[in-house]
């Protein structure tokens, strides 16, 4: 009976809402496929998948402390998700969030190093300077890829991956030789105590970095849909030729997109240093930063490259990251399993228009049934 009511109801809904719901459905299916195949892998390798997921989601969503960790992880990957999404909106595959995030974190730690020497920076001012310097370094990093793309035609997938690796080794160089921690070889020097972001909930890892992340994410929504710059950016992404005929320069839109992406990743990297206890630093091998940029790609794809979708998908992926610790403790499953699930989700999202195909199939079947009735 539901089937006969459905078409009339969807026809009354506005098109953008139908599209949005379909996209939400696709993300939900991809998520289920990812978790299901993840469960199969756990089963094959001898783990209790049910216990793993129960401890993962139970702790990351239902436990109040666990949920603060979920939100604390949502903050950086929301921003790196914006980096990828703003790229896609301009027709780019900017997978350089990882390296830009490293540079953002490096900028913040350098300011922290200065703050131990210049007293005035050990304050809110230091936080602002650290954010600014981190973002500037990240923009520089993104701008290299932008210029290579626009002037030399270098594909951004190749250039940003190379820049990610170069950034990794530059930060390692700084960590080992310049901004090392004299009392703890496993990390760089930490931000001094007053140049840190306040915690939103005491004795957790959840800092004001989350507010920065949500504010910038909402700003990109405004930028993309309510400004001329954003309109030009999206128009160039949808059809660069048509945009050019309309007097828009796609090259300019690409550069804008790289810069906005650089700001987002820079905020993410600096925010990790300024607002994540207990280190307030970069750890050996960048282990506290590693992967946050790539997680952004998952976040953006699940969130349909839309800032509002990204806020929710960042919380979801943040929960996977936060819960993976509990999963490792309770079910013994190595926490890398979460990245496997992420990969499967992305591949599942690459299946074009699953729900559209289903809708099309149902429509045809219904029409056939009506024909047969006559």
């Amino acid at each position: 009976m539901g089937e006969t009511n459905e078409p009339r109801r969807t026809e009354r809904l506005p098109e953008w809402l139908v599209e949005g719901l379909l996209r939400l459905g696709e993300s939900a299916i991809a998520l289920i496929v990812g978790l299901a195949i993840g469960a199969i892998i756990m089963y094959v390798t001898g783990y209790d998948a049910w216990l793993a997921y129960k401890s993962l989601f139970g702790n990351s969503f239902l436990d109040s402390y666990g949920f603060t960790i979920t939100l604390s992880y949502a903050a950086p990957i929301m921003l790196t998700g914006i980096t990828f999404a703003v790229g896609v909106r301009a027709g780019l595959f900017n997978i350089g969030a990882e390296g830009q995030l490293y540079m953002g974190a490096l900028g913040a730690v350098i300011v922290g190093w200065l703050a131990w020497r210049i007293g005035i920076l050990d304050s809110v001012l230091g936080v602002l300077v650290a954010y600014t310097f981190g973002v500037l370094l990240a923009i520089t990093w993104a701008y290299i890829a932008a210029i290579l793309k626009v002037k030399r035609g270098v594909h951004e997938v190749v250039s940003t991956i190379m820049l990610n690796w170069i950034a990794f080794w530059i930060v390692e160089y700084f960590r080992v030789y310049l901004i090392y921690n004299p009392s703890d070889p496993s990390k760089t020097i930490s931000m001094p105590p007053h140049a840190r972001l306040p915690l939103l909930v005491p004795d957790t890892e959840l800092s004001a970095a989350l507010i920065v992340a949500i504010a910038f994410t909402l700003y990109t929504y405004y930028l993309l849909w309510y400004t001329v710059t954003g309109y030009e950016l999206r128009a160039s992404g949808l059809n660069p030729l048509a945009a050019r005929y309309a007097g828009i320069k796609p090259e300019k839109a690409m550069i804008t997109s790289f810069i906005v992406g650089g700001i987002a990743s820079g905020l993410a990297g600096a925010g990790e240093v300024l607002g994540r206890p207990p280190h307030y630093a970069i750890t050996t091998g960048l282990s506290n930063l590693y992967g946050l940029g790539f997680d952004g790609i998952t976040v953006a794809l699940i969130g349909a490259n839309h800032p509002v979708g990204i806020i929710f998908s960042a919380i979801l992926v943040g929960a996977l990251k936060a819960g993976s610790r509990y999963m490792q403790i309770a079910a013994g499953v190595p926490l890398e399993m979460v990245r496997v699930v992420e990969g499967i989700i992305i591949v599942a999202l690459a299946v074009p228009g699953t729900l559209r195909m289903v809708r099309e199939y149902l429509r045809r079947r219904r029409e056939l049934a009506e024909l047969e009735k006559r």
Partner: protein
């Protein structure tokens, strides 16, 4: 530099260029047919992983190399299904495969070998070498002219190139566009899988979670650098291999070590890749229909 050192250096360059060359040759074939696969990095990692598992299980290197090929072929099949048949995006599946590999390799290292980070390959599973040179290297170097011959001197090669240049025209003259693209993609991806198995079973004799270290993407850059020409890819791979080895060699030279820290020397292959792709690009021309889904009217 005496002859022995020169020979050692040459062998090192051959070692380092082999995986990049194999991967790039495969990707040239796929991109000539119009399919971009950025999941090469992940395929190398998974080829390396399952290569070791198969070689240890079967007590010999050959099943390991075949397993690498098979893993690549399977992922290529998935990629071809998503891109050629379902006409989906070319980049997203690759991103997914790379993410999957980034998780699965360290996961399996812990689950299968109970080791966090790396596993040494036992001697019985290593590929034997003749005069210090791996048979896989010989195969890779021989494959470059063979691939050129296939692409430019056989009718199937003509079909591949026409599908990548103008699928509508190819379709009109009766070439099966999707099937041609699928075969090219599967062969291409299987070569990346072989490159991975070569790295773990032959060159490095170990499997680590960062075994690929960007080589999949360096190979993608090499495809552009070579102007989608297998023979030029051979020269390019030698160049990349040279700088890769140079980095390792200057790192242990005391005179260099005192001036430039090793962390910065590690950036050499990536800087060279960027410079190569940025510097010579004016002259190259990609297949016209590369990376775009072919939608029949």
């Amino acid at each position: 530099m005496d002859a022995h050192v020169a020979w050692l250096f040459t062998v090192s360059v051959l070692n380092a260029m082999t995986p990049i060359l194999l991967t790039a040759l495969g990707e040239i074939l796929a991109e000539r047919a119009g399919i971009v696969n950025i999941g090469l990095e992940g395929i190398i990692m998974l080829g390396a992983l399952f290569g070791v598992m198969a070689a240890e299980a079967a007590h010999g290197p050959l099943p390991g190399l075949l397993a690498g090929l098979a893993v690549g072929a399977l992922i290529g099949l998935l990629h071809a299904w998503l891109t050629a048949y379902l006409r989906g995006d070319h980049i997203i599946p690759g991103v997914g495969i790379n993410t999957l590999a980034l998780g699965l390799v360290p996961f399996m290292l812990i689950v299968y070998w109970h080791s966090a980070g790396q596993h040494q390959v036992p001697d019985y599973a290593r590929v034997p070498r003749v005069a210090g040179i791996s048979p896989v290297t010989v195969f890779a170097i021989a494959l470059a002219p063979i691939m050129w011959w296939i692409l430019f001197r056989t009718s199937w090669g003509l079909a591949v190139r026409s599908v990548g240049e103008n699928p509508e025209a190819a379709d009109t003259v009766g070439i099966r566009v999707e099937r041609t693209q699928a075969i090219a993609t599967i062969i291409g991806a299987s070569l990346a899988g072989l490159a991975g198995a070569y790295m773990s079973l032959d060159w490095l004799a170990t499997i680590t979670k960062e075994i690929a270290a960007g080589r999949g993407f360096i190979a993608l850059a090499l495809v552009v650098f070579s102007n989608w020409d297998p023979v030029r890819a051979l020269g390019g791979a030698a160049l990349f291999g040279f700088f890769d080895v140079l980095r390792e060699w200057v790192k242990i030279m005391p005179s260099v070590k005192a001036v430039v820290p090793d962390t910065l020397l590690n950036t050499i292959p990536y800087l060279v890749t960027l410079a190569a792709v940025a510097g010579v690009l004016g002259k190259v021309r990609p297949p016209r229909h590369v990376g775009q889904p072919y939608k029949r009217e």
